[in-house]
């Protein structure tokens, strides 16, 4: 649960930059990585991001938790390709793995430097349909409430040996999930009543964001993308 709390976002020099520039730069780098045919750009970005994690004093444990899934995927992909397609397969597996490392590093870097609210504001700035943004905001706000509810129910079940065997575990987890849905409907009923009392007409207002825009950010992003573009050709 600790993993998704807002505190995960470290205060650092990148989090003070214009989120739009950071997101669009990382997204462009990701596109370059995905379309890349060589190892140089993905591995350079992976190393650069790893160095940045250290520079930003993000704990290794926290980074490793995020990397666990991509790491496992990359490792097994290489193995799978090698077993079924020999040396050529190994080369393809390593290429895909390097892409996974780089792309995952970029998205992890994004999650450490940009807050979810800034992410939402950038989506709004990019003219993503308002309805989808509303749902994202509502889900984000509900997550923490539901996690707490789930934790309380889980603790109560554990205290009564609810997970002492597979059968009881499945039964308890089903009850937990069912109770969570019931809680959702109860929350929804209260939330809707509260919203209507405050003049809710079916439309949510998206928080306006005052962007901390500097031209130097664009220049820096341009430099990074130019260098990445050069490495893309290698």
């Amino acid at each position: 649960m600790e993993k998704i709390y807002p505190s995960f976002r470290e205060r650092n020099i990148f989090s003070k930059r214009d989120a739009r520039v950071v997101i669009l730069t990382l997204f462009s780098l990701n596109l370059l990585v995905l379309s890349c045919k060589g190892f140089v750009l993905p591995m350079t970005l992976f190393v650069a991001c790893s160095v940045l994690y250290g520079f930003l004093k993000i704990s290794i444990k926290r980074v490793f938790i995020r990397f666990a899934e991509p790491l496992m995927i990359a490792g097994t992909l290489v193995l799978l390709k090698f077993i079924f397609a020999g040396e050529e397969g190994l080369r393809q597996g390593l290429l895909v793995s390097s892409r996974i490392f780089a792309a995952a590093s970029l998205i992890i870097f994004l999650s450490f430097t940009v807050s979810f609210i800034d992410f939402i504001a950038t989506l709004a700035w990019l003219r993503v349909p308002k309805l989808f943004i509303e749902i994202l905001l509502l889900s984000y706000r509900s997550l923490f409430i539901l996690f707490e509810e789930a934790a309380v129910i889980y603790q109560a079940q554990t205290n009564r040996l609810g997970y002492s065997s597979l059968r009881r575990g499945v039964s308890s987890f089903s009850s937990l999930a069912g109770l969570l849905v019931i809680k959702v409907f109860e929350h929804n009923s209260r939330l809707t009543t509260a919203l209507i009392q405050r003049g809710y007409d079916g439309e949510f207002s998206i928080p306006e964001k005052k962007w901390n825009f500097h031209f130097s950010d664009i220049l820096f992003a341009g430099f990074i993308l130019g260098a990445a573009g050069w490495l893309w050709k290698v």
Binding site: L79, L80, S139, L146, S174, L195
Partner: protein, 228 residues
């Protein structure tokens, strides 16, 4: 299952995104239409997206194919709110997971929506509704809906992975290699998802049957005691 960031080449990532967009638009239009008469639907969709987030972020590693398995949670969302709105819910949950946990990804968002949201939701919903049409017990229908939603999701994910990363290998054998690799985790996980889905429906039926009636999952009066 979530396909990790970077695993699909750009052309395949864009293709799957293109496939998912019409379903997202359809879901959004349907939600808008419902929201005109029911003010509570938008908050409910947001809350259900949070539930799908929680259920589907419990990954179980798949040993050979190099990915993770987990309950999808889209089956229950589709049964309760309909498959088109469930696609929208899945899209929101997947985007938050990609951002918060690097679980899935931004570039693989479209592919994940197609497998979990579109194929998972529609298959689970269709099975549930078909069984209910033939007057099969509510709990068994939900159980089958949950299982099929899960297994269909994984079959679709295997297709996406096989087409995206096969390289010079032929599609069909590689697809079956991936599919077989999923079996050790996915058969029990699918059954688990079936139990979870039926358990949730049973819990709702026992504690709050009015919710199921309001959402047109069951017919009947609120005071009905026996399972239909």
């Amino acid at each position: 299952m979530h396909i990790s960031e970077g695993i699909l080449p750009l052309n395949w990532a864009l293709l799957w995104l293109g496939v998912s967009v019409p379903f997202l638009i359809y879901g959004a239009r349907r939600l808008k239409r419902v929201a005109q008469t029911d003010l509570s639907i938008k908050p409910l969709v947001g809350l259900m997206a949070a539930v799908v987030f929680i259920i589907s972020c419990m990954p179980v590693p798949v040993p050979i194919v190099g990915t993770c398995s987990h309950p999808c949670g889209t089956g229950i969302a589709a049964i309760l709110l309909g498959p088109s709105i469930s696609v929208l819910i899945t899209g929101a949950a997947l985007l938050i997971q990609a951002f918060f946990l690097a679980h899935g990804g931004i570039s693989t968002w479209g592919a994940d929506i197609v497998s979990m949201g579109v194929v998972g939701s529609f298959s689970g919903y269709c099975i549930f509704k078909t069984l209910r049409y033939f007057k099969v017990n509510l709990v068994i229908s939900a159980f089958m809906g949950g299982i099929i939603a899960d297994w269909a999701t994984y079959a679709m994910t295997s297709i996406e992975l096989a087409s995206g990363i096969r390289g010079t290998q032929e599609f069909t054998p590689f697809f079956f290699q991936i599919l077989v690799a999923f079996i050790p985790t996915q058969i029990p996980l699918g059954i688990l998802e079936g139990f979870i889905t039926s358990g949730m429906i049973l819990m709702l039926y026992k504690k709050r049957p009015d919710i199921l009636i309001n959402l047109n999952v069951i017919e009947g009066t609120i005071n009905g005691k026996n399972l239909p």
